[in-house]
């Protein structure tokens, strides 16, 4: 009876862990996607020579935090501008601005960093380079994403720690009850000459089994529900579909299942070992 209660509570804890794990991973994936889209644009001083531009490009590429550097020529910048702002109606513009690129001094490097946290440092560095006129950056987006990412990390760690402590306490409680129920049997075992391992083994095993069952049930449930839940959320809130691309089930569960099981076994082991060490000294 007590074991069932313990399994149920453990299952609830691991379920919450799994749920949170999936949420964190998906949100991290969204943040990562957004980070990849946030870069800085480096503009050059007027009439700068191509050799100097290449030199600046090499200096930026040499930085370890830089993921990608893309050169955008003045013509490409103008084509992109036309396409972005005028779309199909850009044909008339070509006539008017023939041989006269209004963005003639707008050749640039688009620079993307590996981690958004490194962007500010990189900007400071580029500002010191000779020949750089201006740097266009998205400070607000970078800082917001960075903060949200860190916040999610802290919240995840806090919740997981609380769940761990609660689960260990519950397992410990269950094992204590099992020990008190079998008190007379244990006292006989000790007096007959049973070893520590023989007396403690069954209780430790009980804790581990509670851990495995308590982890397997919610992990199985989450595995079957994950994709249905993602589809339901994206259908119900279609506005999210444009920027959320759920992490594939296989990718999440190839990590969540072993981690969840190890966590379950670990909680069972720690909870039961603490208790038997306290109550079962031969």
């Amino acid at each position: 009876m007590f074991s069932l209660a313990s399994i149920a509570t453990m299952a609830a804890c691991i379920f919450l862990f799994g749920l949170f794990f999936s949420l964190v991973w998906n949100f991290t994936s969204i943040v990562k996607g957004a980070e990849e889209g946030v870069g800085v644009t480096v503009f050059f001083e007027a009439d700068i020579e191509q050799a100097k531009i290449d030199e600046i490009g090499d200096a930026i590429k040499a930085r370890p935090e830089v993921k990608e550097v893309k050169f955008v020529s003045a013509d490409e910048a103008w084509d992109e501008f036309k396409s972005d702002y005028f779309g199909n109606k850009a044909e008339g513009l070509e006539e008017g601005f023939k041989d006269d690129n209004p963005l003639a001094n707008s050749a640039s490097y688009e620079v993307y960093v590996n981690n958004i946290e490194d962007q500010a440092g990189l900007v400071s560095y580029i500002e010191t380079l000779d020949g750089v006129r201006d740097i266009s950056k998205s400070d607000v987006a970078a800082k917001t994403l960075s903060t949200v990412n860190t916040l999610i990390g802290y919240v995840a760690v806090a919740i997981i720690l609380i769940l761990l402590v609660v689960s260990i306490f519950l397992i410990s409680n269950t094992v204590s009850i099992a020990i008190s129920v079998r008190k007379s049997e244990i006292s006989i075992m000790k007096l007959i000459g049973a070893t520590d391992l023989f007396v403690r083994g069954p209780f430790i095993l009980e804790g581990v089994i509670i851990g495995i069952i308590g982890a397997a049930i919610p992990l199985g449930g989450l595995f079957f529900v994950y994709e249905k839940a993602c589809t339901y959320i994206l259908t119900k809130f279609s506005v999210l579909a444009s920027f959320i691309n759920p992490v594939p089930r296989g990718q999440i569960f190839e990590i969540l299942i072993p981690v969840g099981l190890v966590l379950g076994v670990g909680i069972g082991l720690v909870g039961s070992i603490i208790t038997v060490r306290k109550h079962l000294r031969v």
Binding site: L191, I192, G193, T195, D196, F198, V282
Partner: protein, 227 residues
């Protein structure tokens, strides 16, 4: 076999439960330990089982000094010491056979040894026919026989009996004591803590009388001496 050299055990400040006791028991002896409640008899048994540590003095059993024995050595030591209690302490949900076999299982005997030794031991205590009975289906005397079988099945060199007849009628008490005597005659050293004056006087064994934690009398073929 058993040596106590100026052994004391105090639970708290004040009169110690056992006070500077020195005692020697030879291999194969049968000894009654008598005395009033609180005289230190049960503490002495617990010290010999290494359930308690002496406050001072040295206890040596079978050449092993209990004071310095490492914790991991205790189970092996206890396998050489059988114990029976006044309240039998049987496992209520297991039958006679399983109660006796339990003593062998906990120390890892193989099944073939258990299947041979348990019936042998049950025959010794006169319960071969009742091996399937649960403890609640047995009389007090029969339950104590099961407890004795459990204590003996691992063939200990020493048997400690703490008030083994305390819950039994005179007839059953005599039978149990007779059985203990038989076990002793087979070579096991037996120490019996008891209040039973008639039995002590009937069996004419060595009698150690304890009073307020000290040995007041120690006589071969002695008699029960009232406080």
């Amino acid at each position: 076999m058993i040596d106590l050299d100026r052994v004391s055990k105090a639970y708290a400040k004040g009169q110690p439960a056992v006070d500077e006791i020195s005692l020697h028991v030879d291999k194969g002896e049968f000894v009654f330990i008598v005395g009033d409640s609180g005289s230190g008899k049960s503490t002495l048994i617990k010290l010999l089982l290494k359930e308690l540590e002496p406050t001072s003095g040295t206890i040596t059993v079978n050449g092993q000094v209990l004071n310095t024995m490492k914790r991991r050595r205790i189970p092996k030591y206890r396998r050489g010491v059988g114990i029976v209690f006044q309240d039998f302490r049987l496992l209520k949900d297991r039958n006679v056979y399983e109660n006796v076999a339990f003593a062998q299982r906990v120390i890892g005997y193989p099944s073939r040894v258990i299947k041979k030794r348990v019936p042998e031991t049950l025959r010794l205590v006169g319960l071969a026919e009742k091996y399937k009975s649960l403890p609640k289906q047995l009389s007090g005397g029969e339950q104590q026989r099961v407890a004795l079988a459990r204590a003996l099945v691992n063939r200990p060199e020493i048997l400690l009996a703490d008030e083994p007849t305390g819950n039994l009628d005179p007839g059953n008490s005599y039978d149990i004591m007779k059985l203990l005597e038989e076990i002793n005659e087979r070579g096991t050293t037996v120490l019996v803590v008891t209040h039973n004056k008639e039995l002590v006087n009937t069996f004419k064994k060595r009698v150690i009388t304890m009073r307020r934690g000290v040995i007041a009398h120690d006589e071969e073929e002695g008699e029960y001496i009232e406080a």
